[in-house]
């Protein structure tokens, strides 16, 4: 007490400042930075979670890059990214752009689009999984059957399964993207549109010269966030293919699911950590590339 009481006022403020910052700093160090650094360390070791950790150098990375499953899984991960991000963002933009002009029941329609975002990904994965089942069970195939259309093997086909799993992920994220796009559209000053209307500018020019350029911060934010989301897809895949996670024949397995399998089914922690480091590097590179490209365009 006397130690603190004897300090000058400026030092007391420093004590308070670092006192306020202490808990978040300790939390981040213990819960974020330490495990991250530890994962990077384990990726150079061989460890089955219980035994000794032995140093193996780059062995895990060599095994990984020679593993055909890894390349298949990496391809799947980028399929989720390259199909999911453009499709969901274009759809969300079209909805937000049109919904912005609607007044009648505006809030209700917005709520309809936003509701799926509030539901749990795990629960909805099981509902969609039920929709996709073959005829006596699955809703989609029952609907097709009632119109006399041929059945579609959704989750049992190596070509259809990935888009079928992507659909509920896009569906669940759409509402959030619509809301963010609408906020971005509202932030564009109306004076630009008035000026354009007085000058008799075509609606296409208004879109490409006013709306899209001024919406760029919103677009950058959504592209980066949804890309990270699709690169880390796991819940939908794991729950919709539980009897054979990532199946059929690894056709839907994303990188995160491969990490999960290696770590918690094979208990090969070093190998899983190496995969995690690779995923981290991919996320970092993709995010930085997007930020750089989107910034340069202005």
């Amino acid at each position: 007490m006397s130690l603190y009481g004897g300090l000058p006022l400026a030092s007391k403020r420093v004590v308070w400042a670092w006192g306020f910052l202490a808990i978040p700093i300790v939390f981040y160090t213990v819960v974020r930075f330490y495990p991250t650094a530890n994962a990077a360390l384990i990726s150079f070791q061989d460890w089955n979670l219980l035994g000794e950790r032995t140093w193996t150098g780059l062995d895990n990375y060599r095994t990984l890059f020679a593993d055909p499953v890894f390349w298949k899984v990496l391809g799947n991960t980028f399929k989720y990214l390259l199909l999911g991000t453009p499709f969901s963002l274009i759809l969300a933009f079209l909805i937000a752009w049109q919904l912005d002009k609607v007044r009648f029941l505006h809030g209700t329609i917005r709520a309809l689009y936003f509701l799926p975002f509030m539901t749990s990904a795990v629960a909805m994965a099981w509902v969609w999984r039920w929709f996709y089942q073959p005829v006596p069970i699955g809703t989609f195939n029952n609907l097709l059957a009632s119109f006399g259309i041929q059945q579609i093997a959704f989750l049992n086909s190596t070509t259809n399964a990935l888009p079928a799993i992507l659909a509920p992920a896009v569906w669940a994220g759409l509402g959030f993207q619509v809301i963010i796009f609408m906020a971005g559209l509202r932030a564009i000053p109306k004076t630009y549109y008035e000026a354009a209307r007085i000058d008799g500018v075509s609606s296409w020019t208004i879109m490409t010269e006013i709306t899209l350029p001024l919406l760029k911060p919103t677009i950058v934010f959504l592209v980066v966030f949804s890309s990270i989301g699709f690169l880390r897809i796991f819940d939908q895949v794991f729950n919709m293919t539980t009897n054979n996670p990532g199946g059929p024949l690894n056709s839907t397995k994303p990188l995160v699911l491969m990490i999960y399998d290696t770590a918690f089914n094979s208990f090969d922690m070093g190998y899983a950590a190496a995969q995690t480091v690779v995923l981290f590097v991919i996320l970092l590179v993709v995010s930085l590339l997007q930020l750089r490209i989107m910034r340069e365009r202005s």
């Binding site: 400026a10 403020r13 420093v14 308070w16 400042a17 670092w18 306020f20 910052l21 808990i23 978040p24 939390f27 909805i95 049109q98 919904l99 002009k101 609607v102 007044r103 009648f104 029941l105 209700t108 329609i109 309809l112 689009y113 509701l115 799926p116 539901t119 629960a123 909805m124 509902v127 969609w128 929709f131 006596p136 069970i137 809703t139 029952n142 609907l143 009632s146 509920p168 569906w171 759409l174 509402g175 930020l291 910034r295």
Partner: protein
């Protein structure tokens, strides 16, 4: 009025001319459905239909929760024999309530700790001057912006700043350009 089929609004239904002049003793005709109004109606219908499609999985989930297992594979939205059996089953064995408690607990603790500690950090960075403040602040800002050399970070209001009052003298100086003095009288 995006829906053209509701011309009940007396202001818009044509009791005045477009320039606002009243037309005495004349009941103007209802406005026709112009192509623009058709466009608005079609836009509304598509957006509303899309919204309904978006919640259909949730509606099916809700409807199925009131169905007996033999009726689950029926496409009907309204169950033929509604039942609360599923709810009784889920709530009956007590595990669901403990799961619900777990979720509530995590959500509450996370929210409270976020609000508490984030406001502590925000307040500290905003109001205190201390060694290391710059590093913490730049660390947080760097996650939001790419900082370049020469960037100036301005936060809050420095002490001593206030409204300009009579008697104040304002001095401006830009190196290489010159000085400016303004006296407020």
């Amino acid at each position: 009025m995006p829906l053209g089929a509701a011309p009940v609004d007396p202001i818009r239904s044509g009791s005045t001319k477009p320039n606002g002049d009243e037309v005495p003793g004349h009941v103007p005709p209802r406005p026709r459905r112009t192509p623009k109004r058709w466009g608005q109606t079609v836009r509304w219908l598509i957006l509303f239909g899309g919204g309904v499609l978006m919640v259909m999985p949730l509606v099916y989930m809700l409807s199925t929760s009131f169905k007996y297992s033999f009726e689950v594979y029926n496409l009907n939205l309204i169950p033929e024999e509604p039942t609360l059996e599923n709810y009784a089953y889920v709530l009956g064995d007590g595990r669901f309530l403990s799961w619900l408690w777990n979720s509530t607990f995590i959500a509450t603790v996370t929210t409270i700790s976020n609000v508490l500690f984030d406001s502590l950090v925000g307040y500290t960075l905003c109001k205190f001057e201390f060694r290391g403040r710059g590093i913490v602040f730049i660390a947080i800002l760097s996650t939001l912006f790419t900082l370049q050399p020469g960037d100036v970070i301005l936060t809050g209001t420095p002490s001593g700043v206030g409204p300009v009052v009579r008697g104040d003298s304002l001095h401006g100086h830009v190196a290489g350009v010159g000085d400016l003095r303004v006296s407020v009288t």
